[in-house]
């Protein structure tokens, strides 16, 4: 479980990015999380407990499936899918959540709060809280509660309180603002179970480390299957947790190209996009220095993506660093390209991916075209698309009635 990619400096900097831009009220809690995680990762009992949950509850290791039919639509390159969609709760999010929930118990915090965009992190958090007997409050933008109604019901079924956030753009960024306001007020007994590799130090490092297992498994599985490392690893990037999950173990492998696919929305030339690395600029947002969609005065621009999970105007600071150093390449994928890849995977492989993940699949098609039949591309299939059936059915006109909102 707890291996690292490159370690940020002591204050959480990845090159010029990262750090901690947070109210002083939260510093003690952030330091506590940092210190306890350092202790926990070296504690054999903690490690055993987490490993057991990952194996027997989550279902790790997740399989690596070869997408032979989809490959025909990706330049004939071999396309390998890391099946995080087959984890319990349906996405990679559970890896981080179980680790942080155990950490919260260790710190004596009995109340968990979390933000969610698509609902996957919220569902995973509600699940872990049900299992471990923790109180759970999930903040979710009101617009997201509408487009991901199924996940709202799932969270409530699991015993979580879901709070729709009706201010600002009513999406993920506003849910995070509200969760921070809750945390600063209730920090003595509450842990903020942050869901992505963003936020103030140590969250980007903690979340990455708890997901490290994804890339580590993939590396071994690809070597076993293909006899060598892949040419490229692809993942979608909103905040960037599933991308960092599969990138981290490959960062030292310089011959393996790393590709992050951002949500281009209606196009990076329009103001309806969520591609913060491609279309944003360096700034400070949600506690870290990173790429942000912002205007000339530093006001956050509203993001847009057809996928709620990528509809976020910034990105984790380590991604900003990987982009700046050139170790990873970030490209935008439009709503339309993502939906085409979504449709293709459904029809060719019988796998309904999350719309977030479909951005990575669209990107893999591009990489495959460049590499041709000798190429090997791994895609982090970060989540399943059950939650997106309504959105996709509307998009493709698969429902008869007009009344499908």
């Amino acid at each position: 479980m707890s291996h690292d990619g490159p370690v940020p400096d002591e204050l959480g900097h990845y090159g010029r990015f990262g750090g901690r831009f947070a109210p002083e009220s939260l510093v003690a809690a952030l330091d506590e999380v940092d210190t306890e995680w350092d202790k926990a990762r070296q504690d054999p009992q903690f490690k055993a407990e987490l490993d057991e949950l990952l194996r027997d509850y989550t279902g790790r290791p997740s399989p690596l499936s070869e997408a032979r039919n989809f490959s025909e639509h990706a330049g004939g390159a071999r396309i390998l899918l890391k099946r995080e969609d087959l984890n319990h709760t349906g996405s990679h999010k559970i890896n981080n959540v179980l680790g942080q929930a155990l950490l919260a118990k260790r710190m004596g915090k009995h109340r968990i709060i979390a933000e969610t965009g698509a609902g996957q992190h919220g569902v995973a958090t509600a699940t872990a809280c049900a299992l471990l007997g923790l109180d759970c409050v999930i903040y979710m933008g009101e617009q997201d509660t509408e487009r991901q109604a199924l996940n709202v019901a799932r969270m409530r079924m699991l015993g979580a309180e879901v709070v729709p956030v009706a201010i600002g753009s009513r999406t993920l960024k506003d849910a995070i603002n509200e969760a921070f306001r809750d945390w600063v007020t209730n920090v003595d007994h509450t842990h903020y179970l942050f869901g992505t590799v963003a936020g103030p130090h140590p969250f980007p490092e903690l979340v990455r480390d708890l997901h490290y297992v994804v890339g580590a498994e993939t590396r071994e599985q690809v070597r076993e299957r293909v006899g060598r490392l892949p040419d490229a690893v692809a993942a979608c990037v909103g905040g960037g947790s599933n991308a960092m999950a599969i990138f981290a173990a490959f960062i030292p492998d310089e011959d393996v190209a790393l590709y992050g696919f951002e949500a281009g929305g209606e196009g990076v030339g329009t103001d309806r996009t969520a591609a913060s690395i491609t279309a944003g600029s360096p700034g400070v947002f949600h506690g870290a220095r990173t790429f942000v969609l912002q205007d000339e005065y530093g006001q956050t621009r509203e993001s847009h993506s057809i996928s709620a999970g990528l509809d976020y105007p910034a990105v984790g600071p380590e991604h900003a660093h990987l982009a700046q150093t050139g170790r990873a390449v970030y490209e935008p994928v439009t709503d339309a390209e993502a939906m085409e890849a979504f449709r293709l995977l459904c029809r060719t492989e019988g796998i309904i991916p999350a719309i977030e993940t479909a951005h990575a699949l669209a990107g893999a098609r591009r990489i495959g075209e460049r590499l041709g039949p000798d190429g090997v591309v791994v895609v982090n299939l970060s989540g399943r698309g059950d939650k997106d059936v309504n959105t996709a059915a509307t998009y493709f006109g698969l429902v008869d009635s007009e009344d499908h909102t």
């Binding site: 204050l11 750090g19 901690r20 831009f21 947070a22 109210p23 002083e24 009220s25 939260l26 510093v27 003690a28 809690a29 201010i167 600002g168 960024k173 603002n177 921070f180 306001r181 600063v184 007020t185 209730n186 920090v187 003595d188 700034g283 400070v284 947002f285 949600h286 506690g287 942000v292 912002q294 000339e296 005065y297 530093g298 006001q299 956050t300």
Partner: protein, 270 residues
């Protein structure tokens, strides 16, 4: 460099054996011109120092009242250059004019450029609620070069080590958050406030850095209670609420002025 307007104001109040009254108002709320009128009413009522808020799209540390006020200012199109115009008007009233801003708008404007423009407008310093001393090297250099005060926050959860670190980074005063939470009115002042001021005094014995207390203070009695142990009392949401509640600007100005008078009496009743 000589003493700043803020430092002079605090020293004068110390001589008069009273606390200063610091009032917060976002620039551009409810619109640019009106926000200047509101601030003038605050000063007429007895505010010694005005924190001109720079409205930001993601005010993570603000409760619903200030979120609404700052949101209206943004809706009205307020930008950083407008904030400097409000600072200029504030300084013209004779009150010390501070800016309260989240960090990103300052960084985006350009740290040195921001400091230069603020000093030119007659501003005396900046309160930075999400800038920790660890990340403040550039701001420290820019503020020192332009003679602006740097106000960071301490909180009830701050360790003694951090109280020393933060107060060392401050000039003018240190902002002591009375409680763990966001801005907004509270029925009573948290008991953690006095303890925090006591602990902060212990690390500022040599520097004699003034300590002003904010968060949750909204009545004359609360102001008096805090003035008994702090050098300044900071009130924000209470002022914004009076503007939000008023049916028209004139009524709002009267309400703001008489609220400031009540609070000004409070900070004088040591």
């Amino acid at each position: 460099m000589g003493a700043t307007a803020l430092q002079n104001t605090l020293a004068r109040a110390r001589d008069e054996d009273r606390a200063v009254l610091i009032g917060y108002m976002p620039a551009g709320f409810p619109d640019l011109e009106s926000s200047v009128k509101v601030i003038e009413a605050m000063v007429r009522g007895g505010c010694d120092v005005i924190e001109v808020g720079l409205p930001y799209s993601d005010p993570m540390m603000d409760g619903p009242t200030i979120q609404r006020a700052a949101g209206q200012a943004l809706q009205a199109g307020t930008n950083t250059d407008d904030v400097f115009r409000v600072v200029e008007a504030t300084a013209a009233t004779g009150a010390a004019a501070l800016v309260m801003s989240y960090w990103n708008p300052i960084e985006r404007y350009g740290v040195e450029r921001f400091a230069t423009e603020l000093a030119k407008a007659g501003g005396t310093g900046v309160i930075t609620p999400d800038l920790l001393p660890e990340e403040s090297a550039q701001w420290r250099a820019a503020s020192e070069a332009t003679g602006l005060d740097r106000i960071h926050l301490v909180a009830p959860s701050s360790s003694d080590r951090r109280l020393a670190l933060t107060t060392e980074a401050c000039s003018g005063f240190v902002y002591a958050a009375s409680l763990m939470g966001v801005t907004g009115t509270r029925a009573q002042v948290s008991s953690t406030a006095e303890e925090l001021v006591r602990r902060t005094r212990a690390v500022t014995r040599e520097s004699e850095l003034p300590i002003c207390v904010g968060l949750g203070i909204s009545t004359s009695a609360q102001a008096a209670e805090v003035a008994a142990y702090a050098d300044g009392v900071i009130v924000g949401a209470g002022f914004c609420q009076r503007v939000l509640d008023a049916p028209d600007l004139e009524t709002g100005l009267l309400a703001v002025e008489s609220f400031a008078e009540e609070l000004a009496a409070g900070v004088r009743s040591r």
